[in-house]
């Protein structure tokens, strides 16, 4: 199991050092600093073995978190734990920065004592932790409160405490998708997938039982067989094929496995209910058509057309097209129909920004790139043209069908809950080779 956990600043100075196992000596702290943080070469692996001791590290801004062990630990678990540790810390004091870590070091030690025992991760749900580890010192608790805390920390529903009350029961549901594309210069889709998340904010009283439904092909097909499909033939495709999905630990997995229904008792506040991935019938919001022509050895002509491919009533925002330029670029002349374009020498790219663009439109940029003559034999690698954007729909086609709330013990019903649903599609890695 995890033998020790260290946090360093960018210089390699130790901010937090907690050793859980006897086989990890103090010098392990230095070994990591010398061999990884101060190493001359780029980090070649997130797992490093130094003198039969293994180090796992992740970086958050310029803070290094390292777990160390001498055993054959579950490596996946160690990384998951390090991420979890970051989540917990952010939930307590915001951004993980040197200053915040230093200011909260007592709290961090307290957390590390609680969520890692002898190197074994324990309950690390912030909802539960916050009931008894606080920044304002320990509140005196009554005996009832104490046993409530312990039963929650160890209980089946470790992510939610009892007795939560809201005057207004409200639910916010965001479908956040990132659409990824790799397209050949000829416009052939080399790979495309959507990785999506369903993120919720719930402010519900009591211990509500929730049920979430979407236009999952398997569910729809199953229902279709049973009765007649009433809303069949409506606009667009009705159901989507989900390649795979994973759920927050509050979701009853065995129920999903057998009935494919998503039921759960939600944590209070923010959480990520599910993640999913689709590869079929993806709506690609933009198409990029590049045209690069080499005029002699010292000039390049680049023309890029972008076409928006969604309903004309919808508006895409924060559009940015990034066209890489060779390293020996001496000057760039730009003409674009819409938005603003700039050559950024430090980034070796032309950045073309458009604030808003409606569906079914197209726009174009042309650039003349002057090159310095070089004797560098190596050809320019021509990195792909990348795009960023945000659209108000889900490129996978996912639709929320229902989100039902039941709380039999309290007197509010599904109708009393105010629910908000929002769809946001963003570009992931959206690249077209040129």
């Amino acid at each position: 199991m995890i033998g020790g956990l260290f946090i360093y600043n960018h210089k390699g100075e130790v901010l937090i050092s907690r050793v859980y196992r006897d086989d990890i000596g103090r010098n392990a702290v230095d070994a990591f600093r010398v061999n990884v943080i101060h190493a001359r070469q780029q980090v070649r692996s997130p797992v490093t073995n130094i003198a039969r001791t293994s180090f796992f590290h992740v970086k958050r801004s310029n803070i290094w978190l390292a777990a160390v062990t001498k055993q054959n630990v579950n490596a996946t678990m160690v990384f998951e734990f390090l991420y979890k540790m970051c989540d917990v810390m952010s939930a307590y004091f915001g951004k993980i920065s040197e200053e915040n870590v230093k200011n909260n070091f007592v709290l961090i030690y307290e957390l590390l004592d609680e969520i890692l025992d002898f190197g074994y991760p324990q309950n690390s749900e912030t909802g539960a932790l916050k009931t008894f580890i606080t920044q304002q010192g320990i509140k005196s608790q009554t005996k009832e409160e104490q046993s409530q805390i312990t039963s929650q920390v160890t209980g089946q529903i470790g992510w939610r405490r009892e007795g939560i009350k809201y005057r207004r029961n409200e639910l916010f549901l965001d479908v956040l998708e990132s659409v990824n594309l790799l397209m050949s210069p000829q416009g052939q889709v080399l790979s495309a997938h959507v990785s999506g998340r369903v993120v919720m904010k719930s402010y519900l009283s009591g211990m509500p039982e929730c049920k979430f439904g979407m236009n999952d092909k398997i569910v729809i097909d199953k229902q279709g067989k049973g009765g007649s499909s009433e809303d069949g033939g409506k606009s667009g495709k009705q159901s989507i094929a989900i390649d795979d999905c994973t759920f927050h630990q509050c979701v009853r997995l065995s129920k999903f496995d057998s009935e494919r229904s998503i039921s759960f008792i939600p944590p209070d506040g923010d959480y990520e209910l599910m993640r999913y991935r689709t590869t079929k019938d993806i709506i690609l919001p933009f198409r990029v058509i590049p045209l690069v022509r080499e005029v002699g050895r010292t000039k390049l002509e680049v023309k890029v057309v972008i076409k928006s491919n969604f309903k004309s009533s919808l508006l895409a925002q924060k559009i940015e097209v990034r066209i890489p330029t060779p390293l020996n670029t001496s000057g760039v002349q730009l003409i674009c129909m819409k938005g603003k374009a700039k050559y950024k020498a430090s980034e070796n790219a032309i950045v073309w920004k458009i604030k808003r663009m409606a569906g079914m439109k197209e726009s174009q940029i042309s650039a003349e790139i002057e090159l310095l003559p070089t004797n560098d034999k190596k050809k320019w690698a021509r990195p792909p043209i990348s795009m960023n954007f945000e659209v108000p729909f889900a490129p996978s086609g996912l639709k929320v069908r229902y989100l039902k709330v039941f709380e039999p013990k309290l007197n509010y019903s599904d109708h009393d809950v105010i629910k908000w649903v929002r769809y946001i599609g963003r570009s992931g890695i959206y690249e077209t080779r040129c």
């Binding site: 030690y109 690390s124 080779r433």
Partner: protein, 1002 residues
């Protein structure tokens, strides 16, 4: 790093002091004094601030142990936060101040009785972290109470505390009966308590490999599976990892566990997913392959594995390392998922390199076009390592998918045109492999390659280029000039290049003797007289003598036909792969090494294995693995570094025949004397001569078993090649590069000729007797062997191939010291033990000897296929003879194909490969024929009768995994049978037909 290792060792000796003296000297005296005063302050707040300062100093490595009594004084407090800080201090310094630490015991014992469960748990948690013997004694009573505490939070903490205590004093834990209490906690009502108890027990069990601690039986398994649904994500991981150690009793239990584990594949936590994958991969081994559920399960595994690739890069890396293993074990799972392994522009380099590896493994005819297009893109990237690997991958695609070879070669040529130095070098190295794989096809590109001769500065590329020039010397007009140019700086070259240059020039000489005599003399003198490298000298002398004694023989040896190279590379040796599959998700799977290679002490040294399959599947108990098992226990020896040929050869040569002993067969290199002559195909040299030329040299050790153990390696070279080329392969050095740390021998004999499955050595033990064995014939007449007569035959008995010989001494003197060696042969036959002639053979005495054979020896295609060249030595001389074995003795016991597979395979094999023969004058009916054939492991899968003609469909499998399918037509009343044979390696058909004939007529 070495220094740090030393420090670690020192630290161990000193009983691991927590402090570092150099920090001590930097601590100001005044600071400690100030803190002391503050700690003793009356004000609570001030006290707390002071303790915080102490902890901060401790964190940055200052020694604040001098404050021990003052800090401990603050322990008696109601303030939980302060208490926790003091405990933290105690955990760090108690060991250095054992006497004073006793002061804390009372508080701990008291806290363990506190009405607040959080405080009780805190006390028991902290006490376990204090590694002071005296305190440990006091811990037992409170711990016993806490294990039975009413509050689950205390119990789950106490469960872990047992593991802590066991780490300090294992005996104490056993004596106090804590292990039984811990076992009881597996039945606890609270899932988290169960999970922690499982974690603690698993850890304790690891250091007691033979104890029955984790007594997993269907009842406990059921409890664990129930808790699995209810506990935290971490608890689920503990339970799944524990489940993976269980071996279900039968396939039904296996299936029911799998069914309850599969829902975990949708968990958001990647570790839960991978641990579930581990359980499924392991238990799947037990499911019959024709079960519907088996297919369902395979389908369910792909999506979660793909999803892992959208996790954070560090997790992706771990996932990819694991997928690499899974793809090797069960390629069918991800064969359609090639696209997700395409490299993204901004992937971290460690993710890119791993993806590339998997892409090559998944490359097939179906997706090769896409893969090549991708690889071409990658070859223009920035990172040098990545580009090199991409170029190498293109070469590997060419070798793996024949249809793509042409495109690969033209892509490589394009890349050579870029003139980027390392790209060119890498391309030349892979092109050499392509030449080997497809002889006489792409040699037209040699001219382009020669243009780049000057830019090559890496030994591997230079050696590859020299190999090409030597191999195709007859087509390159100025080959002599090219090679001569290398010769100028001969002594500055690396050994790899020197050896290669020597061989290449000798090849050139043999091809164009008139013009190059001077050159060859020059290189021979450079190698033998001016070099102090024994390998180079040895090889030089061998060539020299060869050339001066018998140039014709030299030609046969040096220009011998080279065995084909295998398609798959970098494969992990199967027993290691099995072990690693049992360690999915762990560090072992990231390093691709067994835990014993990086974990100290007793932990994790147990070798895990996959359970045996239920169906007829691949039996792992072939006789070959028995000998292999011995080797696998050898310590993880030196890992030769890539490209260092000298080191490798020396290593191999100097290693004494290892203790546990690889198959003792071709131990040539080590023993001086006549036996050496038998090595490496030299025998062909000696032909009919009765007196072999005296060559008092140690030959290369191409047949040495150590060599062949390390075969899986980046370039596609089978070690056997060294023989034919007399060690002249340019890839020699690289061929041994960076193998996994421990490389048990077993199946590594590389089989050439595009054989289907290298590792599928069947041959389960204990099968019917009565396999056909031809009558003995005289192999070596007495007049040719100074009075020794040998007659013999081959037989397959209980799954073991035997060479049965009758040795007769027809001479006048006593014969002793018998030994036997085989030349390399088509199926890698090699003696599995020494020739057992115990007594001296007196004149006129006859002795029967049965020599068990293995099929892991070096491989070279013989003509005819079943030809075996044997050398027998006794105290008088060495004798050579050749004999032919019936191919039927290579038919293994698990050669029965399933009907569906048979049908599919029959269709799949192109009709060109079909061969038809007539068996005349056979008077058996079809059933009798079928029975007779079955005795020799020819299995009848189906029988069909059409118009009085019986059609028997039969299958057999050779020891090297080649399947042969047969259709035997028997017409009642007609003594002539017709047989059609289909096989992916059609050259075996003739031999198989002969065996049929022999078996049926016998």
């Amino acid at each position: 790093m070495q220094e740090w290792a030393n420090q670690l060792c020192e630290n161990r000796q000193f009983g691991s002091k927590m402090t570092d003296s150099k920090y001590f000297t930097t601590t100001k005296k005044g600071e400690i004094f100030e803190l002391k005063a503050e700690l003793n302050s009356d004000k609570k707040e001030k006290k707390k601030e002071a303790v915080k300062k102490v902890i901060a100093s401790m964190t940055v490595g200052k020694d604040v142990s001098a404050l021990f009594p003052d800090v401990v004084n603050c322990m008696q407090t109601d303030n939980l936060e302060l208490k926790k800080l003091v405990y933290l201090y105690l955990m760090n310094y108690a060991k250095s101040q054992p006497d004073m630490a006793i002061m804390a015991v009372n508080t701990f014992v008291k806290d363990c009785e506190d009405p607040n469960p959080l405080i009780r748990a805190l006390a028991v948690r902290t006490m376990g972290c204090i590694r002071v013997d005296k305190i440990t004694e006091y811990l037992c009573e409170p711990l016993r109470k806490c294990l039975k505490d009413e509050d689950p939070y205390v119990r789950k903490t106490a469960a872990v505390c047992v593991a802590k205590l066991h780490d300090i004093n294992a005996q104490l834990v056993e004596d106090q009966g804590f292990l039984d209490t811990l076992k009881d906690l597996i039945s606890d009502s609270n899932p988290m308590v169960v999970a922690n108890a499982v974690a603690a027990l698993s850890e304790i069990a690891e250091s007691h490999p033979n104890s029955n601690l984790l007594d997993l039986n269907p009842q406990t398994i059921n409890k664990l599976l129930t808790a699995l649904n209810e506990c935290t994500e971490w608890g689920q991981i503990f339970i799944l990892d524990c489940l993976a150690n269980y071996t279900p009793r039968d396939d039904r239990e296996s299936q029911s566990i799998c069914e309850r584990v599969t829902p975990r594949l949708s968990h958001a936590n990647s570790a839960v997913v991978l641990s579930a994958v581990k359980v499924l991969m392991k238990f799947m081994e037990m499911l019959p392959k024709d079960l519907d559920y088996y297919g369902t399960l395979l389908k369910k595994l792909a999506p979660p594995l793909v999803t892992l690739l959208s996790a954070e890069p560090e997790l992706q890396y771990v996932a990819l390392r694991n997928i690499n293993l899974i793809v090797q074990r069960r390629p069918e799972i991800l064969k359609h998922e090639m696209k997700v392994f395409f490299v993204k522009y901004n992937d971290p380099i460690y993710v890119k390199l791993e993806k590339l590896d998997i892409m090559i493994r998944l490359a097939s005819q179906a997706n090769i076009a896409q893969v090549l297009a991708e690889l071409k893109e990658y070859a223009t990237e920035v990172d040098v390592d990545f580009v090199r690997k991409a170029v190498r991958a293109i070469g590997r695609c060419a070798i793996k998918v024949e249809q793509s070879a042409e495109r690969c070669v033209s892509t490589l040529l394009d890349l050579i045109q870029t003139k980027v130095n390392y790209v060119v070098q890498e391309a030349i190295v892979v092109i050499k492999d392509i030449f080997r794989k497809y002889p006489n096809k792409y040699e037209s590109v040699i001219a382009t390659l020669c243009e780049n001769l000057d830019s090559l500065d890496e030994p591997e590329a230079r050696a590859a280029m020299i190999w090409i020039v030597g191999e195709y010397a007859e087509r390159i007009d100025n080959a002599d000039e090219l090679l001569e140019s290398f010769l100028e700086g001969f002594h500055d070259e690396s050994t790899q290049v020197q050896l290669q240059l020597l061989t290449a020039i000798v090849k050139l000489f043999l091809k164009k003797p008139t013009e190059t005599q001077e050159l060859v003399q020059q290189v021979l003198s450079l190698a033998t007289q001016d070099s102090d490298n024994p390998d180079l000298r040895d090889r030089g002398y061998i060539y020299w003598r060869l050339l001066s004694t018998d140039p014709v023989a030299a030609k046969e040896v040096v220009l011998a036909e080279k065995p084909l190279i295998s398609e798959e590379t970098d494969l992990i040796e199967p027993t290691l792969l099995e072990e690693l599959i049992c360690h999915i998700g762990t560090l072992a799977s990231v390093y691709h090494k067994p835990p014993s290679a990086f974990v100290e002490g007793s932990r994790g040294v147990q070798h895990k294995r996959l359970p045996g399959s239920a169906g007829s599947g691949e039996s792992v108990d072939s006789p070959d693995t028995v000998s292999a098992a011995g080797v696998s226990e050898a310590p993880p020896a030196v890992i030769p570094s890539q490209g260092d040929l000298l080191g490798d050869l020396l290593n191999l040569d100097l290693t004494p025949p290892t203790t546990s002993g690889p198959p003792p067969v071709p131990s040539s290199g080590m023993q001086m004397g006549a036996m050496d002559l038998l090595g490496g195909g030299l025998d062909s040299l000696m032909g009919d001569e009765s007196e072999p030329p005296p060559i008092p040299l140690r030959t290369d050790t191409p047949q040495s078993p150590q060599l062949s153990h390390q075969s899986p390696s980046p370039p596609d070279y089978s070690p056997t090649e060294l023989g034919g080329d007399l060690g002249g392969s340019p890839a020699m050095g690289a061929a041994f590069g960076a193998p996994p740390a421990v490389m048990p021998a077993s199946f590594s004999a590389p089989v050439s000729g595009g054989l289907d499955d290298l590792f599928d050595l069947g041959g389960g033990v204990g099968m019917p007797m009565g396999a056909y064995s031809p009558p003995k014939t005289i192999w070596l007449p007495a007049m040719k062997a100074k009075g020794l007569e040998i007659s013999g035959t081959f037989a397959r008995r209980a799954g073991v191939i035997q060479m049965e010989m009758t040795l007769t001494n027809k001479a006048m003197s006593v014969m002793t010291d018998f030994a036997i060696q085989f030349n390399r042969n088509s199926f890698g036959l090699a003696p599995a033990g020494p020739l057992q002639v115990l007594t001296p053979l007196s004149p006129n005495q006859t002795i029967e000897v049965a020599l068990p054979l293995s099929t892991v020896g070096p491989v070279m295609k013989m003509e005819p296929l079943s030809n075996l060249q044997v050398a027998v030595k006794n105290n008088i001389d060495v004798f050579y003879f050749s004999c032919q074995y019936p191919i039927s003795m290579l038919f293994v016991e698990d050669g029965k194909m399933e009907r569906q597979v048979f049908l599919a395979t029959w269709k799949d094999i192109p009709n060109d490969n079909e061969a038809q023969f007539q068996i005349k004058d056979c008077h058996l009916n079809s059933d009798a024929a079928s029975n007779k054939l079955q005795g020799s492991n020819v299995f009848t899968i189906a029988k069909r009768t059409v118009e009085g003609q019986d059609m028997l469909y039969q299958s057999m499998k050779l020891t090297n995994g080649i399947w042969v399918l047969a259709e035997l037509r028997v017409q009642a009343g007609n003594p002539n049978y017709t047989i059609s044979l289909k096989c992916r390696a059609p050259e075996v058909s003739q031999c198989v037909f002969q065996s049929y004939e022999a078996i049926l007529k016998n």
